[in-house]
Structure formats: C-alpha cells, structure tokens
Symmetry: C2
Subunit: 478 residues, 2 copies
C-alpha cells in the first residue's frame, strides 16, 4: 500500500533538477537511505545486490590475474600514517580519529582507514626477504572512511565500500605493467558489465594519489555532462618502500627496494549507473549486474492457469537468468511502474490470451519495445535480448558521451563549451600546474586525464598559448 502510494508520485524530471532527480531515484528505487550518522548511508538490499554482482565480476578477474584477498585492521596508528610524508598530508585532514577505547583514553590515537597503503607496507616489510617472495599480489574488500563535509548517496559519503589492491614487485617494469593491467580490469568491468563507456588516461601531477608516482584513471560522463572518476590505479614507485623499509635481496644478492602499486574502485559505481543510464521513469540497471534480470508480471492472474504458467516460466528461466514473479495483489499497472522505477531490464507479461496463443510478451526497459515470443523459445530469446539490451545501453551512453565532448583551442571556446555544451572538453595543455588551476578557477572544470589516445587539437596551450603537446580531457566533476 505504502509502496503503491510512493509510485504514483512522479519523480522530478532530470531536465528540471538533476540533483533532485538523482535523490528521488535513490529513494524510490530503494537504493539507499540516510542514517543518523552524519554523512553515512545505508545501502539497501536492491543496491547491495548490484554491488555483490559488481564485486563478483571484479573478484573473479582479480583472482584470474593471480591476486589473493586478505584482511587488514580498520585502524591505523597515527605514527604509521605519518611515515610517508605526502601520503599523510593528503589524507590526515579528512580522517576520523578514535581516541578512546572503552573507558580508557588511548595513548596514541588511531585513524579509521581512509586507504590502507601504510598497513600493507608494514606487513610486506615483515614477510618479504628475497626476490623469490615477489611479487605479492594482495587485495582487500572493505569499507573506508573519509570525513567529507558535503555528502551525497553513493557519490560522496563519509564511509564507502571498495576494493583496494596492493602489490609489490621486483622491477619497475613489472609494477608499471600491473598498474595498467588492473586499470584494464576496471575498464573491462565498467564497460562490459555496467555498460558505461570510459576514457582511459593518466592523471596530472596535481590530481594524482598522495604518495604515488603516477595515477591512471577511467573517467565516465554522466547525463548532466559532469564527469565521474570511476576507478583509479596507482604506480607508487619506491616512495612507500623507502619510508617503510620494504627491501629484498635481488638475484645478485643485493638489497633493493620493491616497486609498488595500488588500485581501487568503489560503491560510487552505483551512482554512475543511475546517472549514465537512468531516465525520468527511474533506474535502468545494466543486465549483467541486475539483481532481477527478468520480472514476470502475470496479467489477469485470478484467471485459471495464469499463476501456474507464470511459475512454470520462472522455473524454466531461473536456470539461466535471475528472475522473479510478482504475484502480489497489486494491479499490473502498478507493478509495471514499480519495476520500471527499479530498472529491471526485461518485463515478461503473461495472461490468458498469451497462454491461448502459446506466447509471452517481453518488454525492454531501455527502449520500451514490446516483443512477442513463442513460449517454447523464451530461454534463447531472453538470453539474446539481455545481451542486446547491454549493447544498446552501452551504445546509447557512448553516443551521449561523444555528443557532449567538445574541443577548445582558446579560453573563450573553453568557457563556452563548459557552460553551453556541458560534458568533456578536449584541449591542449602545456603541462604547467598554474594553467591547470587557472582553468579550474575560471571554468570550474578540472583536468580529468591525459588520455592514452592522444589527438592534436592544436599546437598551443588552451590557457597560456605556449607550446603544448599534451591533449587533456577537462570537465566539471563529481
């Protein structure tokens, strides 16, 4: 009853108020709820099931590439956090501190991990002696805390879930290869499971990870033209190795410092799913990670044989897809809009007439297309349709990204692009951090990445006009 009531109210149109549209979907598709804990959210069953599917896709790939999961403590002593100078400067201002355990004041305060490089380093320093112990390819699934001032569900919360990979290697070359390998794993999952196209590239010096040598990123574009950093992979060089004494005897018997990487991807991906695929009727969940891939809605379910047929179809389909029957006493119309709000990729309708004709009706969430399918062929048709929907969603998102990508050769064009065209701006940059911050100040657009696929937009920096050979993607960002 209460559910039905919620559904009749329309959600805010995304053209009218994108931020409110986002919040409405989060609430009405029952993805997250606020808690009484400042900046922390509750991930509700439907969104958590998406995360479990994303996690399974990632974890499989992590293991296939030789990684092992571990679990490190959630606390980091202040002195440990301080060991790597740039790292502590980057993270200390935004951590939560435990100062009291039971009734006792702690002699050293502990931060709740914002990321766990320091803990992994301390452990690696103890367990690695020789090149024979390398590489170490560890990953952990956990939550981390960053004391953000302003928060939004999934996109920016004081606590979020993520994976953090931490690896150490014998040579620079191996570590650099690992960094790119894991960026490619993230790309694979985001594009091929989430149907979200991304731009791959390297972060500028001012946007890179605190304590690292290089940060690589995948950047996605939301419906409102704002960019979202969807995953990052860092080459940490030997910075932490030197701070934590991570040394090993090499093949010549000499002591060397290890070369290190770390990489992470978070629950903000669910925010990206909402903002890349959603529309004014709600969410569209990419089929490969959808908790419900097919929702069976019986029509005229009080009539003889309808519910039995629905159950039979569910039984058959459950062998190949995630399927559910809604045989509640709500009207079919209510059910249609409920599952549209929740973005279930395929609705299967079956009623007395369909049974008579030995057919079912499949309705795509993405295009609304209705397809009549012989009852005998549902397995193959549904499988085909889900793949088809994935492709369509990816292509639609890619088209939007391309349409919202402009080029600029001077600041006037740049400002115009950001304000009127929205989206990514491709422009040349001289490499000077001053130009980068000036661009951000003037337009609100930060450098998103120096893409691997370079184009020569012009020969001069869009900001200072000096010689420039780097093409950069810029954009306002989440």
């Amino acid at each position: 009853m209460s559910n039905e009531k919620k559904l009749v109210e329309q959600i805010t149109s995304m053209d009218e108020d994108f931020a409110q549209w986002y919040t409405d979907i989060v609430k009405k598709a029952e993805l997250a709820d606020y808690s009484s804990v400042r900046g922390c959210m509750i991930i509700r069953p439907y969104a958590y099931a998406m995360w479990e599917n994303i996690q399974a896709g990632l974890d499989k790939r992590f293991k296939e590439t030789g990684h092992h999961n571990v679990y490190m403590p959630m606390f980091i002593p202040e002195s440990l956090l301080q060991k790597e100078k740039d790292h502590v400067e980057g993270f200390a201002p935004e951590v939560a501190w435990v100062t009291q355990g039971g009734d006792e004041e702690l002699t050293e305060k502990l931060c709740v991990r914002p990321t766990s490089e320091t803990l992994f380093c301390e452990h690696y320093a103890k367990i690695v002696q020789s090149y024979k112990d390398l590489p170490k390819l560890y990953n952990q699934w956990c939550s981390v805390v960053r004391w953000e001032k302003t928060t939004r569900p999934f996109l920016r919360t004081a606590e979020f879930l993520w994976n953090e990979g931490h690896t150490i290697h014998e040579t620079k070359k191996e570590a650099e290869e690992e960094t790119i390998r894991m960026l490619n794993v993230y790309t694979d999952v985001v594009e091929n499971l989430l149907a979200i196209p991304v731009i791959k590239g390297r972060k500028t010096e001012s946007e890179k990870f605190a304590g690292g040598d290089a940060t690589y990123t995948i950047e996605a574009l939301m419906h409102d033209g704002k960019a979202l950093q969807a995953g990052t992979s860092h080459y940490l060089g030997q910075n932490f190795a030197k701070a934590f004494g991570m040394q090993f005897l090499d093949r010549e018997g000499k002591l060397q410092y290890v070369h290190q990487t770390s990489w992470g991807i978070t629950t903000r991906l669910i925010g990206a799913i909402i903002m890349v695929h959603g529309d004014n009727d709600g969410l569209k969940v990419p089929p490969r990670i959808a908790p419900i891939q097919v929702i069976i809605v019986p029509v005229a379910q009080h009539k003889a044989g309808v519910l039995d047929k629905a159950a039979e179809l569910k039984e058959r389909l459950s062998k190949i897809v995630r399927v559910k029957v809604d045989d509640s006493d709500k009207m079919p119309g209510w059910k249609f809009s409920e599952y549209e709000m929740k973005g279930v990729p395929v609705r299967l309708e079956v009623g007395p007439k369909d049974i008579e004709k030995n057919q079912v009706v499949l309705v795509r969430r993405d295009t609304r297309e209705k397809i009549i399918v012989p009852m005998d062929e549902i397995e193959s048709k549904v499988t085909e349709l889900l793949d088809n929907i994935h492709e369509s969603m990816f292509n639609a998102a890619k088209k939007v990204m391309e349409e919202k990508t402009s080029t600029a050769v001077n600041m006037d064009e740049f400002k115009d692009a950001v304000e009127n065209k929205t989206g990514f701006v491709k422009a040349m940059w001289c490499g000077d951090a001053e130009c980068e911050s000036k661009i951000k100040e003037i337009t609100g657009a930060s450098s998103r990445c120096i893409p691997f696929e370079q184009e020569n937009i012009s020969d001069t920096c869009v900001c200072c006009g000096k010689k420039a050979d780097k093409m950069v993607y810029w954009g306002r960002a989440y």
Copy 2:
C-alpha cells in the same frame, strides 16, 4: 629459502604447551600476523580464503532462506546506542569511540559498531508501516570492534569479521522459528562444511545477549578440553521494538510492535578449525572449505614427462576440486611438510615410476594413509576421498568430544571432572544464577548451554542440592 628454514623447526607440541602450539600454527601455516594496531590482526591469504569459503557456504544458505544482504554505517552515535538500556550496558564498556573528524571535535561521539541492532532498528522503524511490509530478513557481512584487553588471533581480537542477521516479524512464533532456523543453518555449516560437531542449546539468563529475551548457541569442544561458542542466534522479543518505536498496523488495523531476531557467526571459526582438527604437524583443513583441496607434488620433477604429467592431472582435477601443483625447486620432502603444516587434505604424488605404472599416489593428511590409484580413475577417487576425509574428521572430533564429556552429581565430581578429565561437564542446575556464578568461581567452568537434548543426570542441583530439572553443559571456555 626463508620458508624452508621456518619449516624445519618443529612447532611446539600441543601436549607440552597448547597455547604456544596454537600460536605456532597460526604463524607457520601463514594464517594471521600481528599488526602495530593493538589487538587487531592481519588475516593472511590462506586463512582469508578459508573464510571466503565459509562465507560462501553461509551466504548461500542465508539467501535460500529468504534473506537479503545490506550495508549499515560502521559508526553508531552515542545517543542511538543508549536507546536500549540493557544493550548499552552490555556493550558500552568495550567500544572504541571516534571523537574527532578531520580537525574538528565531534559534538556527539560515535562508537565503532560492536554489533548493529541499533542501526537496523532505526532503519526498520522508518521503512515498516504495515504487516504487509513484514517480515524483513536482512543480513550484513562486516567487521565489528570490541575493545578487548587480552587478545589472541581469531579467538579474541579487538576487530573481527562476521555476519550479523537482523530480522523483524509479525508474530512471536515466526520470530522464534527464525531464531531456531538460523541456529540450524549455523549447525549445518559448522558440522557439514567444517566437520566440527556441536552441542545445540539455550544460554542461561546471565550468559544471554545484552538486550535480548533468549540466546541460542552452538558449542564446540577444542582439543585441550575448552569449549568454544561457535555461533549464536538471539530472540530479541519486543525490547528493541519498544525502545526504537518499531510498530506496524496488523491485520486488524491495530498498531503492534514487531518481534525481532539477530544472529552472528565470526572468523573465530578459523580458531576452532585449528583447535579441533590440528595436530603436532600443523593444521588439518576440512576438505569442503579448504583453499587447496589437492596439492600435486611432482617427484623427480627434472625427469622427462613428470612436470607435463603433473600439469595434465591438475588440468583434469581443476574441473572438480581446488587443486595446485607445486613445481618449485624445493625438495619433495620440504613440500610434504609445508602442505602438512598447511593442512591440505590430499597430497597427490606423481613420479617417473608412477607414470610407468599409469598410477598416482594419494596421501591423506588426516590419517597419513597412502592410496595407490589408477591414473584413469583420479576424478572419482579424489571426490570419494575428500568426502571420506570429511566424515573421518567429523567422527574423530565427535569421539574426542564424547570422551571429554563427563557427568557430575556433586561439586567434588564437578571439580574432578574439570581438572582431571577436562572437557564438558554435564550436570543438573536449579536455575539460580547464584549457583551458576558459584560454580564458575570454584571451577572456572561457565554454563555453556542448556542443551535441547536433555538427560536426567540426577534430580538435584549439582551446586546447592535443591530440586533441579535442567541439565546444563558446563566448561572452561575460549
């Protein structure tokens, strides 16, 4: 090299020093490591892989019984923790407090969750209005923190991993059924995946969960005769419902309070695996959760064809079991003791002579039995053997538990049983908390549970001699 060196040193004998034997296994089987964070441990890849398998077994059963996973914040504001009086009294003395976020002092301190009833209650109170919204069957996988003074890896640590189920129901009957259902799920996993026999029963009032009406438990017995609480399921009644206002409109349109349960099982199960199954050569991992079920050790691997054959066998076996080849340049003898330490259930040896005879040698970790098997039959033989090992390990553990279980009808017998026979003591109890605490004071044995399967040991309380009709399992415990 460093690994080999570690392995030649024998571990402490369990008869000599059980605690040191335990610590040696944790270290040498590479299960956990200490961190610089007081009371927190690092779960290393091999132990974490066991936890992943345990988790998968539990999660499957949770989902089959209709539960959904969610994620709640890791922090609880002080005022929220205080809402249920008994609950806060039970947990507040042992929580870690966050008092500072970034540079700012918090106006209200936040505890790091020791358990999440309060957060679930707050959420449920918001989302449940009618009996149609019930039951809510949620679970979460996370880490929790309890500020323990003395800690031991897996058994008692300031932070540990667990599942916490939280459900609310329309009727008391449904909630009580759920409490027992989940206790049975825990029993199923502990007995049928971990090969650990347990005693099922109810906790006494003084041992029950802070804030609940009844706590049910499964109790296992370790090799040294000490008991270990392996999982608990709580019927919370309407205590939290009243404190948090969790009300719904029932079928007659009247406002009612929900009936509630919670249940949890933790990484201490890994401690139980060590102490129930291990021996003086190391760990014995129960086959069904073993990260490596079969280790292939090539013999005379430099000879032509040996490594190829090992790879071929791995290829075949990997379709049905978790299998690894160790083709490192260590001597087979080193490898044998390494995988014995790690408790891999089956070792498969293959050398030139075996290849000639078209056979392999299978060696059981639990009984050391060697079995020669025709190469064509390895799939069926290995499958059979793993089941066989599971049964044997379970039966061996059950035998130890039975041998170490005594009965006592008076305090002299009780003291004698605890001191000389070790293990569980079955004795009658009048139900008075004073007798319970007196028994603990005198013997060090606490009440473990009032088992579902009652026996009439005598007619009078073992402590005060008054009439008694409850048989209780007592024991010193971890």
